[in-house]
């Protein structure tokens, strides 16, 4: 035996209705160091076996009232005593049914008269077996517990992973917040300002209108209205610089026509969105009350400008809020939904708008894709992480190219930046968790690991090719078009 058998502590029950046999066996076994209990009949044996832990039972077969086979059956039928090995004691002279003995659950037998060594050897063997079985049972139980713990830990790990992804998202969001606050406060400023102007202008002009039209001839009134019309129709899509050029030209024009205060008039006309073709209005400008007239025209048209500004600004702010909401949303359902990939990318670009404006040239090559079955919130995280890396690599200056293409049943989304590139020896590592080239504290290094995990979840692939000046991340996703069957 390899195991350390604590035989001294083994509890053995000896059952025999013949006192002499009982004494003999008890004696032999006790001498070996076992703890031995005697029983004179089957009922006593059962009672003892149910009451105390036993490691072995030596059971006489020929007993009055209840024989050994029956006792053994009863022992095996009871959960408490089922595991105790039973060795039958039979007399040579008895008809010993070996098959029945093993059939009722006995593990061995000894025949009287017995050899002491033989008895001891068998006892030792079965005790060892019993011990091993006990050991095995205990170990199995432990294994079962360990499995349960592992399953729980796995659950926790999955939950943690989800949390990490969400917190990465929030961290990236935190970095965007500053820009986003600006993106919302700016339109709000324009709205507030315009609302104020509208209210002021209305108050100032309303009461002056009757007198104004009374003082104008029909033709002049017609010109005045035409001036207003032109202002209302004008859409100022010119840059400040371009408007300055128009102004200079307008000043010259007015001065040529001998109009005083040409600079002030020109400034007001430009503000009204009138850049040239002022021929019809020259007569108005030559009147002695020209300043007054122009001011009213400016304020009246200002009502329209104010409203336009408010509309534009509101749309801008809504777009940003929507993008924010979309981005921060955490879909708990865990189910794939149909989504438009281009919309997702545009949402991300909206949030980065402030950092892209003017210094990053964004080129979009989108081909029409059918709606894709995916986790749109997680894909947004993918675009964010890749675009964020791209912008950082270019130092927020350069060209960002986004391609959407389809081949067979795969969608291909490529994001290319004009940054310094990823050295070849790093390229294979960038998707590893916690790998980062940024200084400590600036990046968790999980961005691309998360990207990879999300793309894996979609059964897609993500690849990178890079040379200095051109780095491209390509994500391919299967287009699982689910056919709705009713």
């Amino acid at each position: 035996m390899d195991e350390q058998l604590n035989q001294a502590a083994a509890n053995i029950l000896v059952v025999d209705d013949t006192p002499a046999n009982l004494r003999l066996l008890v004696g032999i076994l006790t001498e070996q160091g076992y703890t031995v209990r005697p029983a004179r009949d089957g009922f006593q044996a059962l009672s003892i076996a149910q009451g105390i832990p036993l490691d072995l039972i030596l059971l006489d077969i020929q007993m009055p009232q209840i024989d050994g086979y029956e006792v053994c059956s009863k022992l095996k039928a009871d959960e408490r005593t089922r595991h105790i090995p039973v060795i039958f004691i039979s007399a040579l002279s008895d008809v010993f049914d070996k098959v029945k003995a093993f059939g009722v659950g006995g593990v061995d037998y000894i025949t009287k008269p017995f050899q002491v060594e033989e008895v001891l050897a068998r006892v030792e063997t079965h005790l060892a077996l019993q011990y091993l079985q006990k050991s095995l049972r205990a170990k199995n139980e432990d294994l079962g517990k360990t499995n349960e713990q592992l399953a729980t830990t796995l659950q926790q790990l999955k939950a943690t992973q989800d949390e990490l992804i969400q917190s990465e998202k929030m961290a990236a969001l935190g970095q965007l917040i500053a820009g986003v606050a600006h993106e919302i406060n700016t339109p709000l400023g324009a709205i507030r300002s315009s609302a104020g102007s509208i209210s002021k202008f209305l108050g100032q002009t309303l009461e002056k209108l009757p007198d104004l039209f009374q003082s104008l001839s029909r033709e002049e009134a017609h010109n005045f209205l035409a001036l207003l019309q032109q202002s209302l129709q004008g859409e100022s899509t010119f840059s400040a610089k371009e408007e300055r050029q128009f102004k200079r030209a307008l000043i010259r024009q007015l001065e040529e026509k001998g109009i005083e205060n040409a600079d002030i008039f020109a400034d007001t006309l430009i503000d009204m969105g009138i850049y040239h073709e002022i021929g019809p209005f020259l007569s108005l400008l030559k009147r002695p009350d020209s300043k007054h007239l122009l001011e009213i025209a400016y304020k009246l048209s200002g009502l329209h400008r104010g409203t336009q500004t408010i509309n534009l600004a509101t749309e801008r702010a809504s777009k940003v809020v929507f993008a924010l909401k979309t981005y921060a949303r955490y879909d708990q359902s865990g189910e794939m939904v149909l989504a438009n990939l281009a919309e997702g990318i545009e949402t991300v670009l909206t949030l980065y708008q402030n950092q892209l404006k003017n210094s990053v040239n964004v080129v979009r090559n989108y081909t029409e894709l059918p709606p894709l079955l995916c986790y749109p919130d997680e894909l947004n995280q993918v675009w964010t992480n890749i675009i964020h890396n791209a912008l950082q690599a270019m130092n927020y200056e350069g060209t960002l190219i986004i391609d959407i293409a389809q081949q067979d049943q795969q969608a291909y989304i490529s994001i290319t930046d004009s940054g310094q590139g990823i050295p070849e020896y790093i390229q294979s590592k960038i998707f590893e968790p916690f790998f980062t080239t940024k200084p400590s504290g600036e990046g968790s290094g999980l961005g691309l690991d998360i990207v990879k995990k999300i793309i894996d979840k979609h059964r897609g692939r993500v690849e990178v090719t890079s040379i200095p000046g051109k780095t491209t991340f390509t994500v391919s996703l299967p287009i699982n078009i689910k056919e709705e069957t009713q």
């Binding site: 406060n185 324009a190 400040a240 104010g306």
Partner: protein
């Protein structure tokens, strides 16, 4: 042109237009109002005006702009034209940047978007009073 100029700098046209409308309303013909959409254009404009023998007396500038940020812009202006009153109007506060502008550009005041017309006008008046 000897009328003094107030310059507004912001990458958002709607803000520039709104500011001009408000300033024109508050100060009328006392000043000319010029607009620039980024720091570089603003610097160019400042020199143009200077060459035209006119002068910019006050600048209202955004902070978060593409390219040069507002604090850097105002600091540059301060080096060449220390007498120009500088006001920052920002949609997002970077505390450090505002501190820098106060120290290195002698920033008169920083206002936040959405701004109130009254506060803007009062700030400009107080700034101009210091000249």
């Amino acid at each position: 042109m000897s009328k003094p100029v107030i310059l507004c700098v912001d990458d958002e046209k709607v803000v520039l237009k709104s500011l001009k409308t408000q300033l024109k309303e508050a100060f009328g013909d006392a000043y000319f109002y010029e607009l620039a959409e980024d720091a570089d254009e603003a610097l160019e404009l400042i020199h143009e005006v200077w060459e035209d023998e006119s002068s910019i007396i006050l600048i209202v500038s955004d902070w978060l702009m593409p390219g040069m940020k507002g604090d850097e812009f105002l600091t540059r202006v301060h080096k060449e034209f220390p007498s120009i009153i500088k006001i920052m109007l920002t949609g997002q506060a970077d505390e450090l940047a505002i501190e820098r502008a106060k120290e290195q550009a002698n920033l008169h005041q920083c206002l936040y978007k959405p701004w109130s017309e009254e506060e803007l006008v009062a700030t400009i008046k107080s700034g101009l009073a210091q000249r």
